[in-house]
């Protein structure tokens, strides 16, 4: 078999050596590594993947063709056996190489197969109900092994989407009842406590720091999204007139509690994450103070009874994100700076589309706002390049 992959790698190593990127000794070691089987692994993996995929698809087709004829106990029993096998396999893979691609893939497949099993039981016994119960059950069962053993970005985001989907399904069913019972705030606080406690509970495991960082980023991201959104609602509406049943204020109180929790937790985690090896703080404390004060800003329009002004809402939104951009710039937080610039640009774009009526005016508005956005993008790019030349990039 012609070893095209190996030939390409050897050529690349030679190019790197000639360009002075690697020295001759490193080039020799890389070439020896490739000659020892590095080139063959790609073919082996491809054949394994295609072969295993074909077998799996064939088995699935055979089962699907006879699905009705199979008794429930056989179908569910086979699914249990598959899940147990996946569990044992995943345990062995995690032990062999924690965080390795194989282990992470098996954890993802096991997690998905557990969700599929819940659906399978529901379908087999024709159980009636909403989406929240199966999703919450799945999350409760898979969260311990996901947080304790999972490390990859894919698994962390799968878990995050699972949490978001479960919360959305729960909110759809229970939000009004919770608001009537004035329990939205308590639920938001409990949820945050669980979110912050999860990495602490898994602190004995090597994956805990990764999850801590992930929750930190989620907390700050959620805060950055919730604060101006909530404030914009407040600046847009007349609260007493909009909601005579006072359901909305309770939901808003809950969101403010969530914002406060996210701000405090986010600041704590951010500060902890941004210390140097000798314990000194990195960055600018003003950004931390600004983040901590965000819940107060979110509550402000509601405390004054609402603004009843879309224009005020738009200006306040842009001002908030400009402030985020400024403080992020001061703190050297490039990620938040980029986010702030992008969101201000989007808000301006939507404001132009909203403001101009008619095709001709809309066209003119789009040209104007497009030019403005191009200018902002160019300025941001120039700033980031200049900044990257001065100091290495840091993110929260």
């Amino acid at each position: 078999m012609i070893d095209l992959h190996g030939r390409a790698v050897r050529a690349r190593i030679e190019q790197w050596r000639e360009a002075g990127v690697i020295d001759a000794a490193t080039a020799d070691r890389l070439a020896a590594h490739e000659a020892a089987g590095g080139g063959a692994s790609g073919f082996h993996a491809a054949f394994t993947l295609i072969g295993a995929g074909a077998v799996a698809l064939g088995l699935a087709a055979l089962v699907a063709a006879n699905w009705d004829a199979l008794p429930i106990w056989l179908k569910l029993g086979a699914h249990v056996a598959v899940n147990l096998s996946l569990g044992v396999w995943a345990a062995a893979a995690v032990k062999r190489q924690p965080g390795g691609a194989g282990a992470e893939a098996l954890l993802i497949v096991l997690s998905g197969s557990i969700l599929a099993f819940i659906a399978h039981v529901g379908q087999s016994f024709q159980l009636q109900g909403d989406l929240f119960a199966p999703l919450a059950t799945w999350l409760a069962l898979t969260a311990p092994f996901t947080i304790a053993l999972g490390r990859s970005l894919a698994l962390r985001w799968l878990f995050t989407f699972g949490v978001a989907a479960t919360l959305a399904a729960g909110a759809e069913i229970y939000i009004e009842a919770l608001a009537r019972a004035q329990l939205v705030g308590a639920c938001a606080a409990a949820l945050l406590a669980v979110a912050y406690a999860a990495p602490l509970a898994a602190r004995g495991f090597a994956a805990a720091p990764l999850w801590g960082r992930h929750f930190n980023q989620l907390a700050l991201g959620a805060l950055a999204a919730l604060t101006p959104f909530l404030a914009e609602i407040g600046w847009r509406i007349d609260i007493a007139a909009a909601d005579p049943a006072h359901v909305l204020p309770e939901v808003i109180r809950g969101t403010v509690v969530a914002c406060a929790g996210l701000a405090l937790g986010g600041c704590g985690l951010w500060l902890r994450a941004r210390r140097t090896a000798d314990g000194a703080l990195v960055g600018d404390w003003r950004f931390t103070l600004f983040v901590a004060a965000s819940p107060a800003y979110a509550a402000l329009p509601f405390l004054v009874g609402g603004g009843d002004s879309p224009m005020l809402a738009g200006l306040a939104y842009s001002a908030y994100w400009l402030a985020v951009g400024w403080f992020a710039h001061m703190a050297g937080s490039v990620g938040f700076y980029r986010l702030a610039v992008a969101l201000v640009a989007l808000r301006l774009f939507s404001a132009f589309v909203e403001a101009f009526g008619g095709l001709l005016m809309t066209g003119g508005g789009l040209v104007a706002v497009g030019t403005l956005l191009l200018g902002m993008g160019w300025a941001a790019q120039r700033y980031l390049r200049r900044r990257a030349a001065v100091q290495p990039e840091t993110t929260p």
Partner: protein, 151 residues
């Protein structure tokens, strides 16, 4: 060793718990009272949602009660009589073996694609032309185990 065992427990316990849950449903189902009840399609334009047939129970008058006991109907075996009861103080299983919450709610029945299309045709051609074997869980919830053409 302990770490290996805890890792294995984390990965196997979810499946074992769910297997126990499935077994408990199967065991409870044997003891649950059942009734075969005629059904009607929920929306004649859109009976099927994917593999799910959407339907309502074709009950005699009174089915709009939030909670009800279904009693055998001597005049029509597939359309039980509806006796309204209080939701917050449901009767004992002896007094009301067929207790149901929201009898007018829309139910879903999962079937394979071919079977779902057959059932859809059955209900479209003749409303009430199919009947579901309904299992009463005792707490107001119901589930179904069989859906066939009504005799």
């Amino acid at each position: 060793m302990t770490r290996n065992l805890s890792r294995l427990a984390l990965l196997l316990l979810p499946t074992l718990l769910l297997a126990g849950w499935a077994a408990s449903i199967a065991l409870q189902r044997v003891a649950q009272p059942t009734l075969r009840i005629a059904i009607v399609g929920y929306d004649p334009r859109d009976l099927l949602r994917g593999h799910y047939l959407q339907f309502r129970l074709d009950l005699a008058a009174g089915e709009s009660a939030p909670c009800a006991c279904l009693d055998a109907n001597p005049a029509d075996a597939l359309r039980p009589l509806v006796r309204a009861v209080a939701c917050d103080a449901p009767p004992t299983p002896a007094a009301c073996p067929h207790f149901i919450e929201s009898p007018r709610q829309t139910f879903r029945y999962y079937a394979t694609q071919e079977r779902a299309l057959e059932l859809e045709k059955l209900l479209r051609d003749k409303p009430g032309g199919a009947a579901a074997l309904t299992h009463f869980h005792g707490d107001g919830r119901v589930s179904f185990s069989d859906l066939v053409a009504a005799p």
